[in-house]
Amino acid sequence: MNATLVFVLIAFVLLLCFAYLATRRTKDLPDVDRALMAIRALDIEAFRNLVDPEEEAFLRSRLPVAEFKRIKRERARAALSYVRALSSVSLQFARLGDAARRSPDPVIAASGKQIADSAIYLRLRALDAGAQLMLAAAFPSLDPLRLRSLLQQYDRASYLLLQHNLLTRNHSRAA
């Protein structure tokens, strides 16, 4: 096993990766059913409670330190699964927005661009939130999480998509 073999193997794996990405390209379409399932699985109110700094402050003041740390770890892990679901939803939103952005109709294209922009920002916020939650699970004594912007961004992206759906429906009827 020498360096030559390693480089040749890397090159071969890379070729396979690019071939896979090329074949996935046509399959990575916005998946309505998958996104709907992800949205249904999301209990946003439960997630809001899990990451509510006031609730965390309340638990901190009422529970012994060891108990608080244990509960905070569990809450952080639970919130992490919500963030993963949100991240998955944001990917579907982004794909839908990106596809709509190419519409020949300038109004739908503009709406698609707004959705894609918003979904990308939501995904960025979700990635950031995921990192924060992992940190919180590892170090429960850290300051409470500030994930309000993630929830706001989810609301905004959902609202834009709702508007886009109405717009598309009106255009389809007009056509």
Binding site: L14, F18, L29, P30, I39, A99, I108, S158
Partner: protein, 252 residues
């Protein structure tokens, strides 16, 4: 030299460049050169390079010193242009997403730094054989540059996939063509640094031109294929109603 080998050698040297000239003509007639000036220049550069080197080869100057210098100079030009094309692909993908562009640019800088270090380390620990030190240096340098280029292409593909961005058909074609070529060249430059017998060397000479042929066919294919929307821009109304109902409940 076996008859089939001679045929394969000439075919794989000539055919990709003829097709590349066709790509250049299509780019110009479809006015894509305004959006992809570096790629357009690259196709012209490669075609002229082929004409120069092939003429010299046919005139019997393939073993001359100047042929080698022209080969190295044009190789350096092609390599530099490929970096320009990667930048062109990057600009084309992210131009509509300024917020993501900043993150992508920062990530790209870090990835480039990491790849440069990896390339230097690989060059430092490489040992090889070549007719002279100049060619050995060129091969090691080219392999290092290929590591950087293939790494950047992989980053672009994965980063856009992570954020659900699709590439326009022709941009994807350019990227895929380069990715195939760069991956194969990584293996080709590495194998060229090893001590091979004459027969293996001859076979290895077909690898770069063969992969280049595949890349040019990919460029031409994506150029000729009509721009298909990657995803449906609009869904049938019942689907949209399902979306609206679900989203509406969440926003309440």
């Amino acid at each position: 030299m076996a008859h089939w080998y001679k045929f394969a050698l000439y075919y794989l040297w000539i055919a990709p460049h003829v097709l590349l000239a066709v790509v250049a003509v299509f780019i110009y007639t479809r006015r894509l050169h305004k959006n992809f000036p570096i790629f357009f220049f690259y196709t012209l550069f490669e075609t002229l390079e082929f004409l120069l080197l092939f003429s010299a080869y046919m005139a019997g100057h393939a073993t001359g010193v100047w042929y080698r210098y022209v080969f190295i100079a044009t190789l350096a030009g092609s390599t530099a242009l490929r970096f320009g094309i990667i930048q062109e692909i990057f600009n084309n993908i992210f131009c509509d997403y300024p917020r993501l562009e900043k993150l992508a640019a920062t990530s790209l800088r870090w990835i480039t730094g990491f790849l440069v270090v990896a390339a230097i380390v690989s060059a430092f620990y490489s040992s090889g054989t070549a007719p002279d030190n100049l060619m050995l240096g060129v091969k090691v340098l080219e392999r290092s540059v290929t590591i950087i280029q293939v790494g950047l292409m992989l980053f672009l593909f994965l980063f856009t996939r992570m954020f659900g961005l699709s590439w326009r058909s022709f941009v994807f074609g350019i990227g895929l063509g380069f990715a195939i070529f760069a991956s194969t060249m990584l293996a080709a430059w590495t194998l060229q640094l090893t001590a091979l017998n004459e027969h293996s060397k001859q076979l290895l000479d077909l690898l770069p031109t063969g992969s280049y042929h595949v890349s040019v066919v990919v460029w031409l294919g994506y150029l000729l294929a009509a721009e298909q929307p990657v995803g449906a821009a609009t869904y049938p109304v019942p689907e949209m109603d399902r979306w609206s109902g679900e989203l509406g409940r969440h926003l309440q």
